[in-house]
C-alpha cells in the first residue's frame, strides 16, 4: 500500500478532511476517524508511535477540549456546583467533536507522510500546482528539524547559564523566550539568504519551465483506490 501514488493519498486525505468539516454528528465523525485509521493501518503506519511522538499536542488538544466544554453554558447541565453549571451535554458533545476532528486531521497527515516530500511535490506539480509554491512547502518541511534542533540548543545554552525554565515565573519566562527567539530569528534570516544563494547558483527559475527527473505514473491500483474512496464518500453523503 506504501507504493501507491502520492496523489491517491492526497485524494483520500482530501475526502476525509472534507467529510470531517461537513459533518457535526459524533457518530459520523467517529466513522470518518475509523476510516482514516483503517487507511493508515493499510499504509503500515504505526499510529501508536505517532501518538507518543505527539503527546504534547494530544495533551493540548484534550486541555482545549476540556476548557471548551467547561466554558459552554448552552444545553442541559450534567455537572453542577451549587447554582454554577460546570458541564453541559452540549459542551461535552462540542469538545468531543473537536477531539474527533483533530484526530482525523492527525491521522490524515500521517497518511501523507508515507510519501516523501519530493513525491508529494511532484504529485502537486503534475496536478499543475506552480513549482515555486510546491518547492516552498518542501523547503519548509526540510528545515523544520533544523529549527527544532536550534531551539533545543538555545534552551540548553540558557539552562547552562543557570536558568531553570521549569522554575521561572511566567512573566520572566516570556523574557527568557525573547532571548531564545531573537538569535533563532536572526539565524533563520541568515539561513534563508544562504539557501537563496545556493538555489540561485543551481539555476533556480533560470527559465519559466523546468524538466523533472522524477515522473509519477498512476497504476490501475491507484485508480481503483480513488474510485472506491469517492464511492465510499458518496455513499456516506447519501445515507448518513
Amino acid at each position: 500500500m506504501n507504493d501507491i501514488d502520492p496523489r491517491t493519498k492526497l485524494i483520500q486525505v482530501l475526502i476525509l478532511s472534507t467529510l470531517a468539516l461537513i459533518y457535526n454528528k459524533l457518530s459520523l465523525l467517529s466513522l470518518i476517524l475509523l476510516a482514516a485509521i483503517v487507511i493508515a493501518l493499510l499504509n503500515r503506519i504505526n499510529l501508536l508511535s505517532i501518538l507518543i511522538r505527539l503527546k504534547r499536542l494530544v495533551k493540548m488538544i484534550i486541555l482545549i477540549a476540556l476548557i471548551q466544554s467547561l466554558l459552554t453554558k448552552t444545553g442541559n447541565p450534567i455537572f453542577r456546583i451549587g447554582n454554577f453549571t460546570l458541564l453541559t451535554d452540549y459542551g461535552l458533545i462540542k469538545s468531543l467533536e473537536f477531539i474527533l476532528r483533530l484526530g482525523i486531521i492527525i491521522v490524515s497527515a500521517a497518511i501523507i507522510t508515507t510519501s516523501s516530500s519530493r513525491e508529494i511535490i511532484q504529485g502537486l506539480i503534475q496536478w499543475h500546482c506552480p513549482y515555486e509554491i510546491a518547492f516552498m512547502v518542501s523547503v519548509a518541511i526540510r528545515f523544520l528539524p533544523i529549527f527544532k534542533e536550534e531551539m533545543t540548543d538555545m534552551i540548553t545554552a540558557i539552562q547552562l547559564r543557570g536558568i531553570d525554565l521549569h522554575k521561572v515565573k511566567f512573566n520572566k519566562k516570556i523574557q527568557v523566550y525573547k532571548y531564545i527567539l531573537t538569535p533563532i530569528t536572526i539565524n533563520s534570516v541568515i539561513k534563508a539568504k544562504e539557501l537563496a544563494a545556493a538555489m540561485e547558483m543551481r539555476g533556480f527559475r533560470a527559465y519559466p519551465q523546468r524538466t523533472s527527473y522524477m515522473v509519477l505514473k498512476m497504476q490501475a491500483f491507484d485508480y481503483i483506490i480513488i474510485g472506491l474512496s469517492i464511492a465510499a464518500a458518496f455513499l456516506f453523503f447519501t445515507f448518513q
Binding site: S116, S117, R118, S138, V139, R142, F143, P145, I146, K191, K193, E194, L195, A196, A197, A198, M199, E200, M201, R202, G203, F204, R205, A206, Y207, Q209, R210, T211, S212, Y213, M214, V215
Partner: protein
C-alpha cells in the same frame, strides 16, 4: 585564456559605511587552481559572491569595477549562462542541501536548466561515481556526515558542469577525514582541467593550489 578577471572591484554592503573590497585586481587563467587567503573579515566570501554574480543578484550593496568570466562581464550573463560557467560551494553544507534524497538534490540544478531526463540520469551516475557515493543515492542528505554533505554540495554544483569552481572555505565545518576526501575530489577536478578558486585561511586546505593571492593589501 583568462577564466576570471577582476578589475578595480570595490564593494560595500548597504548597511555598512566601510568598503569590504577596495580596488581589487587579479586574474585567474583557465585550468589554474588559485587560492585566495586573508584574515577573517577581509572580504574573501564577499569576493567569491562578486565573482559568482551573487552580488548584486542576491546580496545588494554598492558595487563598482567589473568581473569578467571568459571575457564577458558577469552582469550581462543570464542565470543559466552564469551557473554553467561558474559554480560556488559554501562553508555550511546544510544550507546548500534542501532535497529529501541525494538523487533529487543532484537533479535539482539540471532540472532548472531544462536538461533532458535521460541526460540527468547519466550525469547523476557519473558524479556519484566521481565522489564514490553511489550507495547513498536514495538517502536523505540530513543523515550524512558533514564531509559527505559537503561532497554532495560539490556534486550538486558539478551537475551543471561549470568550467570554474569556487570553494568558499568549504573545509571549515569538516573533520580531518572529510577534508582528505574532499581534497582528493578537488585534485581529481584539477587534473581534469577545471579552473578552481579556493578561499581559506588555513594553508593546509589550499595545498593543491598553483598560486596564492593574499587579500588585504599585498
Amino acid at each position: 585564456m583568462k577564466a576570471v578577471e577582476v578589475k578595480n572591484l570595490s564593494f560595500k554592503y548597504n548597511n555598512s559605511e566601510d568598503y569590504v573590497l577596495e580596488d581589487v585586481n587579479f586574474s585567474v587563467n583557465s585550468g589554474e587552481t588559485v587560492a585566495i587567503i586573508g584574515q577573517s573579515g577581509c572580504g574573501k566570501s564577499t569576493l567569491c559572491n562578486c565573482i559568482s554574480g551573487l552580488i548584486p543578484r542576491v546580496y545588494t550593496g554598492h558595487l563598482s569595477g567589473e568581473v569578467l568570466i571568459y571575457g564577458e562581464n558577469i552582469k550581462n550573463l543570464s542565470i543559466a549562462d552564469t551557473v554553467t560557467r561558474i559554480g560556488i560551494i559554501f562553508q555550511n553544507p546544510s544550507t546548500q542541501l534542501f532535497s529529501p534524497t541525494i538523487e533529487d538534490e543532484l537533479a535539482f540544478g539540471p532540472e532548472n536548466l531544462c536538461v533532458d531526463r535521460d541526460e540527468i540520469g547519466i550525469r547523476i551516475e557519473k558524479i556519484l561515481k566521481t565522489i564514490n557515493m553511489e550507495k547513498y543515492r536514495y538517502d536523505n542528505p540530513n543523515n550524512l556526515s558533514g564531509g559527505q554533505q559537503q561532497l554532495i554540495a560539490i556534486a550538486s554544483v558539478l551537475m551543471l558542469n561549470p568550467a570554474i569552481l569556487i570553494c568558499d572555505e568549504i573545509m571549515s565545518w569538516i573533520d580531518d577525514e572529510g577534508k582528505e576526501i574532499i581534497m582528493n575530489v578537488l585534485l581529481k577536478l584539477k587534473e581534469d582541467g577545471k579552473t578552481i578558486i579556493m578561499v581559506d585561511h588555513e594553508l593546509e586546505n589550499i595545498k593543491i593550489s598553483d598560486r596564492i593571492i593574499y587579500l588585504g593589501g599585498q
